[in-house]
Amino acid sequence: MPDIFTKTMARNIYLGGSVFFVLAFIALTFDTTARLPKRDNRENITEQVALGKQVWEENNCIGCHTLLGEGAYFAPELGNVYQRFGKSKEAIKGFIKSRPVDGIPGRRSMPQFNLTEEELEAIAEFLKWTSEVNTENWPPNING
């Protein structure tokens, strides 16, 4: 680089640029969090939904599935599974309950997690709640 562009100038761009964009990002974060209540369906976060999120986390569901497109790509997207299963919590619960302990020969299979009835109900409620978040129409179709 030519001598006209000095090290001090480079440093100032680094310092000035990063401070400016850190502040801009913080401002955008305040704006986003202020707008979220109209989008994130928070009024429907019941105790059951909260428990459902904990069941989701403590069984590491994200280790195979995506949720709103984030997670692992080994098993189907679950952000819209409530719609895919005909808006039926019973269908979701039934699927989780019926997973064979030893899997399916040659195929991918969800483990049997031995969830209690309360946990099953909670995870179904959590997935229903998730499906009602405003995601700008993502995923593109019912297959996730």
């Binding site: 801009a24 986003t32 994130d40 986390e57 403590e58 590491n60 189907p76 040659g106 700008e136």
Partner: protein
């Protein structure tokens, strides 16, 4: 034994580098398991279900890179600061704490169901588990914070009481940033949207933010040492690269805020800024090649120079090009959460972070082992073979995953009659087989890499001035 070291305390880097390589092997073995599970669904089921293998694979990656970064800091900071490390004893103690905590966590993943691990580690008290990459029990996370604080105290005091070079200050800034951003892993609200929003403050602001400072500083250090180019020139490049990284990367976080419940304006902001994110990586490539062409000496460690140039190229391809490919919101609408993401993740992590750690290991290990400035020529040839095997294999892993991803997008999301997820997975299986084969080649490359440390031969000539 360590006559090659300017400062005796640099020697603490050695166990960190050895541990990093060991954990890298573990990471790759679990990668092979997962790759096979993609095509033979019941492989090792239910003993090691996919989610467990993935957790081990990604967590080992993070931990070995952290070992690599810490080793790099312990090695280069004293030399840059022109003084001994504040406390080598603390560095060694933290090494064992980190290694044992990490090993126990991995054993926990493998030995008991995840829900049991959550119960016995008291996840109820402060729930932080079960989120991608942050699966560690809360107690492990607290351990990481303790290790990070001790590490920063040690490195910080050394930097601040010594010669404050640009490399040292940038490296320290990156390491402090790494520790600070990790604190957001303790914030896990009941609201999934908020959870996801701040989860990215750890994940994105690490790999597309502060880690780039660490990467830049290590690369700059190695280039100064191997090319003899004037420090002023290299410092200027470093500043420009990290400026570009932060100017694009911070708001670039927005490319993760398209479809998770966050406002639609992120589609514009995320697209615009993340479209610029390849710039710092491109500059890194130019930087590495430029410095090597301008070199004022012929460094005997040719393998290190190869790794340094390779990092520039592969970081640009993996993070820059493959990142850009699916970062624009209208594209990402279709590719989000598919094998396209996996393709990008593999090449970006290998090209930017795995390779920079292998670069500094390649440079420092001969000195740490008291061998000299470089390994003998035969060992270097084997090391360079391992470079090409791993790098080319990673290119193919990425290409096959991209092919699988593009097909997946077409079949599952784009064509007039979209197919269900599992039907699509069956149709793209051939690409998963090809990926697994490339993974086997990668593993062979890694084994060859380890072999290169044990090859004996005549020492190369000392440094020569280029004609």
């Amino acid at each position: 034994m360590t006559t090659q070291l300017k400062y005796q305390s640099q020697a603490v880097a050695k166990p960190y580098f050895i541990a990093a390589i060991g954990l890298f092997v573990g990471q790759v073995l679990f990668g092979l398991i997962m790759g096979l599970q993609y095509v033979i669904g019941d492989f090792l089921f239910p003993e090691i279900p996919f989610n467990v293998a993935r957790m081990v694979h990604t967590n080992l990656l993070i931990v070995w890179l952290l070992f690599g970064f810490m080793g790099a800091a312990y090695y280069l900071v004293p030399e840059e600061a022109e003084r001994e490390l504040h406390s080598p004893k603390l560095a060694l103690a933290l090494f064992w704490i980190f290694l044992i905590a990490g090993a126990l966590t991995i054993v926990g993943y493998l030995a008991v169901p995840y829900a049991t691990l959550a119960k016995i580690t008291g996840n109820d008290i402060l729930p932080t588990m079960g989120r991608e990459f942050l699966e560690q029990p809360t107690i492990t996370k607290l351990g990481i914070v303790v290790v990070a604080l001790g590490f920063l105290y040690n490195i910080g005091l050394t930097v601040l009481s010594g010669r404050k070079t640009v490399i040292n200050v940038v490296l320290l800034t990156g390491l402090v940033g790494l520790a600070v951003m990790f604190l957001f892993s303790f914030y896990n609200p009941e609201n999934l949207v908020l959870d996801k929003y701040f989860w990215w403050w750890v994940v994105h602001l690490w790999v597309e933010g502060v880690w780039e400072l660490i990467l830049g500083a290590i690369l700059a250090y190695v280039l100064i040492k191997t090319t003899g180019v004037d420090r002023e020139v290299i410092d200027k490049w470093l500043y420009v690269i990290i400026a570009a990284a932060l100017i694009t990367g911070i708001i670039g976080t927005g490319h993760h805020y398209y479809w998770i419940g966050t406002p639609a304006y992120w589609q514009w902001l995320g697209s615009l800024f993340s479209a610029l994110e390849p710039i710092p990586f491109f500059m890194m490539t130019i930087f590495a090649f430029n410095m090597v062409f301008k070199r004022r000496k012929q460094h005997p460690n040719k393998a290190t120079v190869l790794w340094a140039m390779g990092t520039g190229v592969m970081a640009f391809l993996g993070a820059g090009v493959w990142g850009f490919m699916h970062t624009l919101a209208p594209v990402n609408y279709y590719t989000h959460g598919t094998q396209v993401t996996a393709a990008h993740g593999h090449m970006a992590f290998y090209g930017a972070y795995a390779m920079i750690v292998l670069t500094i290991i390649s440079y420092a290990m001969p000195k740490l082992r008291g061998i000299g400035t470089a390994m003998n020529n035969r060992a270097q040839v084997v090391e360079m073979w391992s470079f090409w095997l791993m790098t080319v294999a990673m290119v193919f892993i990425t290409l096959f995953l991209t092919a699988a991803g593009v097909l997946q997008v077409w079949l599952q999301r784009y064509q007039p009659n979209p197919l269900p997820f599992m039907a699509v997975q069956d149709q793209v299986a051939i690409f998963y087989w090809c990926r697994e084969l490339s993974g086997v080649i990668f593993t062979l490359g890694l084994l060859l890499y380890i072999v290169s440390f044990f090859i004996k031969g005549e020492q190369p000539q000392a440094e020569q001035v280029a004609s």
